[in-house]
């Protein structure tokens, strides 16, 4: 395996970006990520992006965003209809092939144009479940109920996760939900999708991010402290909610084992946990012990940019390690209802 590192990162997230199109708000981020390492688009060996037509409400929506990269002359490029973390994975695979040394990765999503709770219903089984229009929060509520009634977690534990996310987010300028709240204040909130309270659900955001990857010595040339992707793996669970254990993310556990989480201590973990319940399940599935700081950025609870939230976890971990706030971290991304699909990587500073 070749050593691949993250060399630069740029992001933007806010509750809504009504005045700019996707490509308009992505261009400055793309330029920023490339400028940080002194590369132009034509220096990139490969480019890969992640986005969703259903989010944009338009077929082939990524076709208008590619213009932001400056794809003239033409570029070697691909796109996944997945979170940007899978675009990073595809770029990592391409770099493993050995014929390119640099890759540009970006992803973005605007949740504000459509009703995300409705849009996500179209992810469900199209014959048996989607016609019922299950609300995305209600679906997670099923997992939450199981977790609580099985005694796996308590409502107080969920409130602690929510409170910690808010406290961490207070110092993150990209976070949307930054107002601090105590555990008791959160427990006093009225249920939104019983047993989930407003603080248990993600703060929806519009935004995106861009990142440069490079292999081996090329990465060392490009930045002071490359952050190496020591291992990366992704897995999927069954889709049908009734056939899998919603209180344990089997696919996250396997991906974590394959990525070597637990082989050595990590300083912190950036987990793409849209709900407090997701975070509780992931901590167990990945076997993170109490010494690991979870979501120092505030995580996806504090700002959930669909299609980018997973890649942003990688970026947050990169920035923290690059500036010396830790050496080893877990970065994680998820997709689908109730943590169906999970990607896990171990990152380490030079």
């Amino acid at each position: 395996m070749r050593d691949i590192a993250i060399c630069s990162f740029a992001q933007r997230q806010q509750a809504a970006i009504p005045d700019e199109s996707e490509v308009e708000f992505m261009v400055p981020l793309m330029v920023q990520a490339k400028d940080a390492v002194g590369l132009t688009q034509q220096d990139m060996g490969f480019t890969c992006s992640g986005s969703s037509d259903f989010l944009a409400g338009q077929a082939f929506s990524f076709v208008s965003t590619i213009d932001g990269t400056g794809p003239v002359p033409p570029i070697s490029e691909s796109h996944v209809e997945q979170d940007g973390a899978w675009a990073l994975y595809e770029a990592w695979v391409k770099l493993q092939c050995g014929d390119v040394d640099t890759a540009f990765v970006y992803s973005y999503g605007k949740s504000s144009p459509g009703s995300l709770r409705d849009v996500l219903a179209t992810q469900m089984d199209p014959y048996y479940v989607a016609p019922l229009w299950p609300d995305a929060f209600a679906v997670e509520g099923l997992a939450a109920r199981l977790l609580l009634e099985s005694g796996t977690v308590s409502e107080r534990r969920l409130a602690e996760i929510a409170s910690r996310s808010r406290a961490h987010a207070a110092s993150n300028p990209h976070a949307v939900r930054r107002a601090e709240k105590s555990v008791d204040e959160i427990l006093a909130e009225e249920y939104l999708a019983d047993p989930l309270r407003p603080s248990d659900i993600p703060a929806s955001a519009d935004g995106g991010c861009a990142m440069v990857l490079a292999a081996g010595d090329r990465a060392r040339e490009l930045c002071d402290r490359p952050v190496w992707i020591r291992a990366i793996d992704h897995r999927i669970d069954a889709h049908t909610l009734g056939v899998r254990d919603l209180t344990a993310a089997m696919s996250a556990r396997i991906a974590g084992e394959k990525a070597g989480v637990g082989a050595d201590t990590v300083d912190f973990a950036e987990l793409h946990a849209p709900f407090t319940t997701s975070e509780a399940v992931l901590i167990e599935a990945l076997g993170l012990d109490d010494g690991v700081v979870v979501n120092p950025s505030g995580g996806a609870l504090a700002a959930h940019t669909m299609m980018a939230a997973g890649l942003i976890r990688f970026g947050e971990a990169f920035e923290r390690i690059a500036r010396g706030d830790g050496d080893r971290a877990v970065a994680h991304a998820t997709a689908g209802p109730c943590l169906q699909q999970n990607l896990v990587a171990v990152l380490e500073g030079e």
């Binding site: 037509d53 002359p73 014929d99 014959y127």
Partner: protein, 389 residues
């Protein structure tokens, strides 16, 4: 010869569904399993042998399911395994095969299943392509309205005879008769009927356009050890390439986009091909509208600029008697399951060098070229496969 450092990668299984306007007998999952099982069967593999799945399809709006790889995890034997979902517009089937190949070439996995599909009958593609957007005026009826002015430019610049497009369409429909999987089987179709079919997007006639199909296509790929050990025909991947460009900038060549030419240069260089017309035995290219055959023949370097239509006229691209047979399967003009169409080109190229193309086999085919394009003719994916390592 493969590029130094990459794992040599082999296609050992190809599976397709029968293409039809409505596969009402199966669900989306059932459609995919039909293709996947056939690919596994040919490869002599089971689900247990598959390390990862790479899935491709065109816009989610075509079926109304967001990120359908999630719902299809069980059907594709993926529970506990990795699955990825590629979407690069019309080229997606080809891009998906390239991404799957890279997983073996990069030694990330040993054996992968790749699958691309569309089930257009479960929604309305024309609707999905023409969603009313408030800021622009909608003047196109689907892709034909977009591409026909480009074909008109080619006709003007090449001085090609008016009926070249009809010749391509007739040839591909004749080829389709030899492919049991093809959607359109029109044994009684005459050339005159093609010429007399109604103009839809003048200069494009109804018979010069592709059908709308349901279907899936799958391949099993494995590493060098697996390919060597395989008890059956093998197609070795000699090169893969993807290129993309903007669809709107001043001075853009829309007839032969720079991305097309550069993608071809890259893939043929990887495969060590110098004289493309002589060294390539058979071509499966993405021709959704008849005139794109001569246009791509030129853009890909099989013919001089402005002279691709002569290869159509003199029969060079015919299955029988042609020196560079194009789309012996019947091509996109005979089966168009949009998301799968690119992968079908790649898979048919593999079948030719495996000697497994049946009635539409080109005798002695050793090196084949597979091609896909999409968007406003701005996304390209290509590969070269060979019978010998």
């Amino acid at each position: 010869m493969t590029v130094a450092g990459k794992e040599r990668t082999a296609v050992i299984g190809v599976g397709q569904t029968k293409y039809a306007s409505t596969r009402g007998d199966v669900s989306m999952a059932g459609l995919l399993r039909e293709a996947a099982y056939r690919a596994l069967e040919m490869a002599g593999k089971t689900w247990d042998d598959i390390d990862a799945v790479v899935m491709g399809k065109a816009p989610d709006f075509f079926e109304g399911v967001m990120m359908p790889e999630l719902y299809l995890a069980e059907a594709l034997g993926c529970v506990g395994k990795p699955i990825m979902r590629v979407h690069t517009a019309g080229s997606v089937g080809g891009s998906t095969a390239c991404v799957a190949a890279s997983m073996v070439q990069g030694r990330v996995h040993e054996t992968v299943l790749t699958i691309a599909w569309e089930k257009q009958s479960e929604s309305n593609a024309m609707w999905a392509l023409s969603l009313p957007m408030p800021f622009t005026t909608s003047v196109n009826a689907g892709a034909g309205g977009y591409f026909s002015p480009i074909m008109r430019r080619y006709m003007a610049m090449s001085d090609a005879p008016e009926l070249i497009g009809c010749m391509v369409a007739f040839k591909d429909r004749q080829h389709a008769l030899k492919n049991p999987y093809a959607h359109l089987h029109q044994p009684d179709l005459t050339f005159d009927q093609v010429v007399e079919s109604p103009m839809l997007w003048d200069p494009i006639r109804y018979s010069e356009t592709c059908p709308s199909s349901d279907g899936a296509c799958a391949m099993v790929m494995t590493n060098e050890v697996g390919g060597d050990a395989h008890d059956g025909p093998v197609a070795w991947i000699k090169g893969t390439a993807m290129r993309s460009e903007s669809n709107s900038y001043g001075g853009r060549n829309m007839v032969s986009p720079a991305a097309s030419e550069q993608c071809a240069d890259d893939v043929f260089a990887q495969a060590g091909i110098h004289d493309r017309r002589r060294e390539i035995d058979v071509v499966e290219m993405y021709v959704p509208f008849s005139w794109y055959e001569p246009m791509w023949l030129e853009s890909l370097g099989f013919a001089e600029k402005g002279k691709g239509w002569r290869m159509v006229e003199d029969g060079s691209t015919n299955h029988v008697g042609g020196d560079l047979p194009v789309n012996c399967s019947g091509g996109v003009l005979s089966s168009n399951a949009i998301g799968a169409s690119g992968m079908i080109r790649f898979a048919e190229a593999a079948l030719q060098v495996m000697g497994e193309a049946g009635e539409h086999q080109v005798d002695g085919a050793r090196i084949a070229f597979g091609h896909a394009y999409g968007g406003g003719a701005q996304y390209f994916a290509m590969w070269v496969v060979a019978s010998e390592k």
